[in-house]
């Protein structure tokens, strides 16, 4: 490419110059996105305006003086300098410019890469990640400031709405880099930067085939990096103190920016919407001493009080959740989701009331008009107008540490102002002018005189675009005002975009959408003739034009509807939610009388008591027997005809997990743990309670020879993740042998290498290698601990830490296995390294080597009668539990299934049928034995004085197929009751009936707001213009 740069391009004024030159160079393919701007003298005076200097501070008929990009003065009786350009603000209001606290504005959006860049790089070219040491998806050195482009078409629409500054963040990866605060004026990219870095960004969403591939992998990895940053600080401190005999700390671009951010207090953007996500992120922030700014925060209404006592600020995502338009009309949205949809907009008000500093982000919203609509929803939900302004101005400035420069109208601050007829988000606002960095921008009035509309296009539309590649579906949501102006958005496969310049003149609807293609903005023009419920016309992109037709699928919700009080009040909702999720009743102290009590306490005797009384005090079993007198005043539960057993314990479960249960990228993933991804709202918890289960062992999956950590939970439904933890339960870890870790089924996708190991030989090798490494790590660490003060310990390695715990006997191993030979191999390997396997899981051929298992002291946790689903399960027999028990192995029966766990009592009964265990031995398979295996038998597993009152009451024999769980207690609190379950169900059904009354009426009815037809799948609405590739290659030259 010839160098087309013109000398005048160096002049600050001519911002559009490069683009213009480019256009000359490639033959005027289309108009430049930004016109060449004149640069008038930078002195302005806005007089006789109402000035909101800061939220809640208003000056009437005041003057704002602007000079050289700054606010010179603001006040009532200011003398206007002669060189100032005077703007009459009579009848108008001056606001501080708005700040969008998280965007990608000013950068080329990643999705707009050239479509012709060739086929996607195949997986083969991607490096295989060996572990955290390869620093996958970590670019904290990257600054959004360095990613700016000169022209981003989106900026204009933000600015025209009153936004004068925005945080722009790097995208991609887990540590994508540093956030930058930019001006939203028209200037060259470097001039935009106000402050950088304003934050380091952390991202949890996303998936990868390489490490870390799962949510728990990401959380583990993030903490390893933070730990490494901390270690790096320690190393540097020691070196600074006495460099002699130490290695000079080397530059590390992946770690140093993180360490520096922690040291100087640069905040971290931490993603969290839901309560348990907020808990998770705050715990990470606290552990690693980060300054937290939560991003998202849509369910923070449920954590407001807690956040008020934390040091966290919240950038609330205004893109409130709502029902998917393409959703199955028969889909039954869960009550918690409906509740969340209702409550999310109340988050800003709730956070402010709790004293939490907030700002707003437009999130994935297509533009400011959508943002303002969502902001109005928050105002309807209780956010005051002043507070809304605060969050968009001074509040955001404080969170970002730029309150000295931005956020209010005061002398010396940057002249970022909005001159408007009302609050910028008001529905009928007219934005007269926006000042960014002291430069004035006016939206150009639409001069064209057009005919008044003769049709109304408001509503939902399904459109069909005929492209050379076939017909494509898109949808549009349009809203027309009386004067014919149309706002709304259009949805294609690539997402939703706001429409621009929409209007109806007579029966002609025209609007545009914009997409950024590298340095260019590609505009699609829609021209449609409206005839009743149909439209017909064309879509043109550059020189290409395609036919477009469509029909209205739903009328717009009328204004009257919006004003109506909702059929269900927030209080009703909260009441239903309290029945939905939470204990039935906190009791703590009570007595159960007349029950047949299966204490299962003595493994050798039948320890069943008929007509017995169990006294519970403060969640513990206080007394037990047939001749117990119930203390006066204690609540009595008469259980005549019923039987009481210890709460069922499931030694192998995967419920209540957020994201994948496997971090399957590596063969050894001891660095991850299920503890990090507990999903406390999983409905499976309630269903398990209904099956009498009170404690579960949540395990990592079986994809790796050494998997991740476990979590032992008490099913205290309604608690957060912390409240579910079985405090004091020993930590554990998952191992896996055989077909699953060697991946005998299915090949990896093209381009992805097969993972070692692929044989049982390799599986054993992986485990042996890992422990060899861990033993050395533990040795070095111990040496450092015992060395003189100032001895540098080895870098903490989460993977090896956990393995070292196993070697030290501090972590229980739960090993998934099937075949007898592999079981023996593992037991021998454990003997070799001096640790014990706590449980063999599944262990379907355990009966073949029961003596060896017993000799090692391993427990066995097996299925009742599953077999034949794979080769290594072909020798499985339902007598396994009984036969292993007979030969001295401590056996439990587990579910590994959210369904099977609901009738583990029946699964236990199968050991009576197949193999002839007695009733007590059978019951112990799902109570005391798993408790012993998990190291929690001092607390649970049998009905004994002093143990936790975790109890399950049946209406008949506990091993009968006809018996139904009546009550389930944990710590003496009632967590399931059959009767209460029916009330709970009625509450759910009633509330939903009120929310969607139309379901009971004729489904064909089409004028209601809830009856919009589902939309056809949307496809790519805007094919790239033919010259896009060319333009892109120009941009790179």
């Amino acid at each position: 490419m010839p160098d087309l740069k013109l000398p005048s391009c160096t002049e600050r004024a001519w911002t559009g110059c490069r683009a213009a030159a480019l256009m000359v160079g490639i033959g005027m393919l289309s108009a430049p996105a930004i016109a060449q701007r004149p640069e008038p003298p930078p002195f302005y005076a806005i007089r006789d305006a109402q000035v909101v200097t800061a939220p809640g501070h208003v000056l009437e008929r005041a003057t704002v003086l602007i000079a050289d990009g700054l606010i010179e003065a603001v006040g009532a009786d200011l003398e206007i300098p002669a060189d100032a350009w005077v703007i009459d603000g009579t009848g108008l209001v001056v606001y501080p410019g708005l700040i969008d606290a998280m965007t990608t504005l000013g950068q080329a959006p990643p999705e707009s890469g050239p479509p012709s860049a060739g086929p996607e790089r195949s997986g083969r070219d991607q490096p295989t990640i060996r572990g955290p040491e390869d620093r996958p998806q970590t670019t904290p050195w990257k600054s959004a400031a360095d990613l700016l482009i000169d022209d981003d078409g989106r900026i204009e629409s933000w600015r025209e709405a009153g936004f004068t500054a925005a945080v722009t963040v790097p995208e991609g990866g887990i540590f994508p880099g540093q956030a930058t605060l930019i001006h939203l004026g028209e200037s060259e990219k470097d001039e935009r930067v106000i402050a950088t870095p304003v934050a380091q960004r952390i991202v949890l969403a996303g998936r990868s085939r390489t490490f870390p591939g799962s949510l728990m992998g990401r959380i583990s990895y993030i903490q390893q990096v933070l730990s490494d940053a901390q270690y790096s600080a320690q190393v540097r401190k020691l070196y600074e103190r006495s460099p002699v005999g130490r290695e000079r700390p080397l530059y590390d671009r992946a770690i140093d920016p993180i360490r520096e951010a922690v040291e100087v207090g640069v905040p971290f953007f931490l993603p969290a919407d839901h309560g348990h996500e907020i808990d998770r992120m705050l715990a990470i922030a606290e552990r690693w001493q980060l300054r937290p700014i939560l991003v998202g925060g849509q369910a923070a209404y449920a954590r407001a009080a807690m956040l008020g006592t934390s040091n966290a600020a919240v950038v609330v995502n205004l893109d409130w959740p709502e029902a998917d338009k393409n959703e199955d009309p028969d889909a039954d949205t869960p009550l918690p989701t409906l509740y969340h949809h209702r409550m999310a907009p109340s988050t800003p008000a709730a956070l402010l009331e709790a004293g939490v500093e907030i700002a707003f982000t437009s999130g994935e919203l297509s533009g400011p008009s959508m943002l303002f609509e969502k902001l109005r929803t928050a105002i309807d939900a209780g956010l005051s107008v002043d507070d809304a302004l605060e969050a968009l101005t001074l509040g955001a400035a404080r969170i970002l540490g730029v309150e000295d420069q931005l956020g209010s109208i005061a002398a010396g601050k940057i002249a970022n102002l909005v001159l408007a007829s009302a609050e910028p988000w008001a529905e009928d606002v007219e934005i007269k002018a926006v000042f960014v960095d002291g430069k004035k921008y006016e939206s150009r009035p639409d001069d064209e005189e057009s005919e008044p509309p003769s049709v109304n296009v408001s509503g939902s539309w399904a459109l069909e675009l005929t492209t050379p590649g076939g017909v494509r579906q898109l949808t549009a949501e349009l809203n027309m005002k009386d004067d014919g102006k149309v706002s709304g958005e259009i949805t294609s496969e690539r997402g939703t975009r706001a429409i621009k310049d929409g209007k109806v003149a007579d029966d002609m609807l025209t609007f545009k959408t914009q997409r950024t293609m590298g340095p260019r903005t590609v505009e699609a023009k829609y021209t449609l003739t409206v005839t009743g419920e149909t439209v017909d016309g064309s879509l043109s992109v550059g020189p290409r034009s395609m036919d477009l037709t469509g029909e209205r699928t739903a009328a717009a919700a009328s204004k009257e509807d919006e004003g109506e009080t909702p059929a269900v009040s927030n209080e009703d909702f909260e009441h239903a939610m309290s029945l939905y999720r939470g204990p039935v009743r906190r009791i703590g102290s009570f007595a159960i009388t007349n029950a047949r009590v299966y204490t299962v306490s003595d493994p050798t005797l039948d320890s069943t008591l008929t007509n017995a009384t169990v006294v519970v005090r403060d969640g513990k079993i206080a007394a037990l027997g047939q001749d117990i007198e119930v203390p006066a005043g204690l609540e009595v539960i008469d259980a005549a005809g019923g039987s009481l057993i210890p709460g069922i314990i499931d030694a192998h479960s995967h419920i209540a997990v957020d994201g994948a249960v496997n971090e399957s990228s590596l063969a050894v993933t001891s660095m991850v743990t299920i503890q990090d991804v507990i999903a406390p709202a999983d409905i499976a918890i309630y269903r398990a309670l209904a099956g009498g289960v009170t404690t579960i062992n949540v395990l990592h999956g079986s994809s790796n020879p050494i998997g991740g950590g476990n979590a032992v939970l008490k099913l205290r439904w309604g608690s957060d993740a912390d409240g579910l933890r079985f405090a004091g339960a020993p930590a554990g870890i998952k191992f896996a042998l055989g077909e699953n870790p060697k991946r005998s089924r299915g090949n990896p996708p093209p381009g992805v290498a097969r993972r070692y190991p692929a044989t049982r030989m390799g599986v054993m090798d992986v485990i042996r290698q890992a422990f060899t490494e861990a033993r050395e790590y533990a040795r070095v660490r111990q040496q450092a601990e015992q060395g003189p003060k100032g001895t540098l310990p080895p870098r903490p390695d989460f993977k090896l830490d956990r393995l070292a715990e196993i070697l030290a006997g501090e972590r229980l191993v739960h090993a998934h296995c099937y075949r007898a030979d592999e079981i023996l191999q593992l037991l021998q390997l454990a003997d070799e390294f001096g640790f014990r396997i706590s449980t063999l899981q599944h262990v379907l051929e355990g009966y073949k080597v029961a003596d060896e298992i017993a000799a090692h002291g391993a427990g066995a946790s097996t299925f009742s009668d599953w077999w034949g689903y794979k080769v290594e399960a072909y020798d499985a027999i339902p007598h396994n539990a009984a036969l292993m028990t007979e030969r001295g192995v401590l056996v439990s029966i587990n579910s590994d299934s959210g369904e099977e766990m609901r009738h583990l009592n029946q699964e236990a009964a199968k050991a009576i049928k197949w193999g002839g265990l007695d009733e007590n031995a059978a019951l112990r398979l799902v109570t005391l034995n798993p408790a012993i295996q998990l190291g929690i038998d001092d607390r649970v597993g049998s009905i004994e004085v002093g143990k936790d009152a975790d109890l399950t009451l049946y209406d008949g024999h506990p091993l009968s197929v006809y018996s139904i769980v009546q009550k389930t207690f944990i710590d003496g609190d009632l967590y399931f009751e059959l009767e209460a379950d029916r009330q709970r169900q009625t509450a759910i059904d009633d509330l939903k009936a009120k929310l969607h009354p139309s379901e009971d009426t004729d489904e064909k009815e089409s004028d209601g707001e809830d009856n919009s037809e589902p939309q056809t799948e949307t496809m790519d609405a805007e094919p790239p213009p033919p010259d896009a590739n060319l333009a892109q290659s120009e941009a790179r030259s």
């Binding site: 393409n326 959703e327 199955d328 009309p329 028969d330 889909a331 039954d332 869960p334 009550l335 918690p336 309630y686 269903r687 209904a690 009966y847 073949k848 080597v849 029961a850 003596d851 060896e852 017993a854 000799a855 009668d865 599953w866 077999w867 034949g868 689903y869 794979k870 080769v871 399960a873 020798d875 027999i877 339902p878 007598h879 036969l883 007979e886 959210g898 369904e899 099977e900 609901r902 009738h903 029946q906 009964a909 009576i912 049928k913 197949w914 193999g915 091993l959 009968s960 197929v961 006809y962 018996s963 139904i964 379950d981 169900q985 939903k992 589902p1014 939309q1015 056809t1016 799948e1017 949307t1018």
Partner: protein
């Protein structure tokens, strides 16, 4: 494309006219293909047990079996001298249990494709018969019958097709498939083209949702194809005498379901899909059996009114929606029964693609018991795994109760067969006592006697 694809079959019939032959002779021959039943002249008597005939009140008595059939059930019986005697004193005699949808004999190890013969390539395979792939020596069969299941439907499935093929009713004993077959072709299995907005994505190995309209369009397209096939089968039947029509094994097989002939098992679960299937079957004049029926309780009145019997999948299943009652699947059967719907249980129905693996077929009584715990009367539960499936498949003259004239498929237990702790003491299939020995028991016995290894 394999020859089983007929996107445009009426045209094919026309164009191939020249190659026609006298197919109808062959058709008749195939219909009369006999199944070999045991006829060894053996006499057997079950003495002194409580007989739960399911045709009346239980009583203590005897069951006389001659030549594979029940000859007499009574409390006073002259026992022939040469009769093999089965002492049932203190025990209970029940009809053998009938699983109404399985893949018994078609799968040995689920994860090993080489051992699976459930799912053929092609979308419309009305001519395929499960009976032609059943492996009589499958280890799964003795394991299953040891728990009292004496006969079962074995049915093909399909991956993304619509007509899977013909299901067989089999005795769970026999040296050959012919000895096992009660009906080689008992019903046509159709995966009803449903509106599936949540589909399993094999590339990510997880469920994903897709737009409703797309799913609806696909369902309607499939339903249209099925209609075309039935229409073609009608043409084919009408042209029966023509010398110009080429023989089509597919249409020949499909013709048997027309005019409320051979039952058609429609696999469907969601209420809207059940409704559309019922509507379709009525318009096409098909003898419909619903299989799966997860949401059948939602449309129980319709099913009762149209007299559509239901083969339920597992009761021990999770509710379809988060907000459903925890026991929604447990209560399905009880509610259907109360509304007057005829139902049978199975361990295989439930998936939209056809029956699942056969290894848990032995748990049929416990799936049934779960429904009994949650509202289905116990005797009805028992009938739903004995008599009702026999009625549904038109076999109640031969199976389903302990009555004279019926095939002697019987079990002798020490208690309620739906209780897990109950043991099956004797197993009689086609009048002969069958060993309850099986792979599991022999492994158990072998390793139980392993010398102490400590």
């Amino acid at each position: 494309m394999s020859s089983t694809h007929y996107p445009d079959f009426p045209a094919q019939i026309r164009h191939r006219g020249r190659l026609a032959w006298r197919w109808h002779v062959a058709l008749i021959a195939s219909l009369t293909l006999a199944t070999a039943s045991i006829s060894d002249g053996q006499t057997l008597v079950i003495e002194g047990g409580t007989v739960h005939s399911l045709a009346g009140e239980p009583f203590v008595g005897h069951v006389l079996v001659v030549d594979g059939l029940i000859q007499e059930v009574s409390d006073s019986l002259t026992i022939p001298a040469d009769a093999i005697q089965v002492d049932a004193t203190g025990l209970h005699v029940y009809p053998g249990l009938f699983d109404a949808m399985t893949t018994l004999g078609l799968v040995e190890i689920s994860a090993v494709a080489a051992t699976s013969d459930t799912t053929e390539i092609g979308r419309f395979n009305p001519h395929l018969q499960a009976a032609s792939a059943v492996h009589p020596a499958s280890e799964v069969i003795p394991v299953t019958r040891a728990n009292g299941i004496t006969h079962a439907i074995s049915a093909p499935g399909t991956r993304d097709g619509i007509i899977a093929g013909q299901a067989a009713v089999l005795h769970l004993d026999g040296w050959t498939v012919d000895e096992m077959a009660i009906e080689r072709s008992a019903a046509m299995v159709v995966r009803w083209p449903d509106i599936a907005t949540r589909i399993f994505d094999r590339s990510t190995f997880s469920f994903r949702s897709r737009p409703f309209n797309e799913a609806k369009e696909e369902a309607e397209e499939g339903q249209g194809e099925l209609r075309d096939w039935l229409e073609a089968a009608r043409h084919y039947t009408q042209a029966a005498g023509s010398t110009r029509t080429e023989r089509s094994l597919e249409l020949e097989a499909l013709a048997r379901v027309l005019d409320r002939g051979q039952p058609v098992i429609f696999l469907a679960n969601a209420a809207r899909d059940i409704e559309s299937a019922v509507d379709f079957a009525e318009r096409e004049g098909l003898n419909m059996i619903l299989a799966g029926g997860r949401d059948a309780w939602k449309v129980k009145e319709l099913l009762a009114e149209k007299r559509i019997p239901v083969i339920l999948g597992r009761s021990q299943a999770l509710p379809a929606e988060d907000d459903d009652p925890y026991d929604r699947p447990f209560r399905n059967a009880g509610e259907l029964h109360a509304a007057g719907v005829k139902l049978a249980f199975s361990t295989g129905a439930g998936s939209r693609f056809g029956p699942g693996g056969p290894h848990s077929t032995r748990t049929l009584p416990y799936e049934t018991a779960m429904a009994a715990a949650y509202g289905l009367p116990r005797e009805e539960a028992l009938k739903a795994i004995t008599l009702y499936p026999a009625e549904i498949f038109g076999l109640s003259d031969r199976l389903g109760t302990v009555e004279a004239g019926k095939i002697a498929n019987l079990i002798v237990t020490n208690g309620d067969p739906l209780e897990i702790t109950t043991q099956v003491r004797h197993l009689i299939i086609q009048g002969r006592e069958v060993e309850t020995a099986n792979r599991h028991r022999s492994l158990y016995e072998r390793y139980r006697t392993r010398p102490d290894a400590r």
